[in-house]
């Protein structure tokens, strides 16, 4: 799974074929040049923010399905960890989600800024109920 390729626009590669349950799909995680010591929420938050952005900008339900699967696969850490992940996701949406011109103009990406703002604000307030009622409920589903 470890591999490295330069100058690609995404750190996850999959075969360009129909994904089928029961069939093995080889997934590569690449671009390790920024591997660093940090908090794990940087990875989980970015992953969730980027997938959520595909839903916000293009209405891709498939991205939400991958997002929910990702939360389940990563599993429980703690409520505190979930809130720290949502802080990073909110900030990532604001900082990097609003400059992807492939996804829209600055005006069109205001929806991303607004989503990032709402996620950040409610993560900062530790408003678990707000998240449980929204698209990112999967982050809090299994937290006791």
């Amino acid at each position: 799974m470890f591999s490295q390729l330069a100058h690609l626009t995404c750190s996850i590669l999959i075969p360009n074929a129909t994904i089928q349950e029961g069939t093995e799909t080889l997934v590569f995680v690449i671009d390790w040049e920024t591997s660093q010591l940090g908090v794990s929420n940087i990875d989980t938050g970015q992953m969730i923010a980027d997938l959520y952005r595909l839903w916000l900008c293009r209405g891709l339900e498939t991205a939400l399905w991958v997002l929910r699967g990702f939360c389940k696969g990563y599993g429980i850490v703690s409520e505190e960890h979930a809130f720290r992940t949502t802080i990073h996701a909110g900030v990532h949406l604001i900082s990097r989600g609003t400059i992807d011109r492939e996804m829209g103009t600055m005006d069109e990406l205001e929806v991303v800024a607004r989503a990032g703002r709402n996620i950040l604000l409610n993560a900062y307030r530790k408003d678990r109920k707000w998240f449980e009622d929204g698209d990112l409920a999967c982050l809090f589903d299994p937290v006791a």
């Binding site: 490295q4 626009t9 010591l37 696969g73 609003t98």
Partner: protein
């Protein structure tokens, strides 16, 4: 340049979701996409947990301090900078954006850090 592995007909997951799956928001596909996400999540968790036990890896990654600074800049500082682009949306969270920028910077001094990918995303 070294080639470690080769993925024939590979595509990044953002492109895959945008181009291949865009007309296929069919609920019948939900289990397969959830399984893909679950496998990714499970692998990332395993990587986070397992890397901590490889002290040689920790030592090498610890030297990449420049990447830590880039992460702080492009995520936490750039978010503060975006307020001027979206003042009506972000104006009332400016203080929070500055606080979390400090939180993220303080974490780097806190000592409870682990090996992370640092740019793990389906879109850039």
């Amino acid at each position: 340049m070294q080639i470690h592995e080769y993925l024939p007909n590979g595509v990044d997951i953002k492109t895959y979701l945008l181009e291949r799956a865009i007309d296929r928001n069919e609920s019948s596909l939900e289990p397969a996409f959830k399984s893909l996400g679950q496998a990714l999540g499970s692998w990332v968790r395993h990587f986070h947990d397992e890397a901590a036990h490889h002290l040689d890896l920790v030592d090498v990654v610890a030297k990449n301090k420049e990447a830590q600074q880039v992460q702080q800049l492009v995520t936490y500082q750039f978010a503060v900078d975006r307020v001027k682009d979206y003042p009506e949306v972000l104006g009332d969270v400016t203080t929070i954006l500055r606080e979390v920028r400090k939180l993220a910077a303080d974490e780097l001094e806190g000592g409870s850090l682990q090996v992370i990918h640092g740019d793990l995303g389906p879109a850039k």
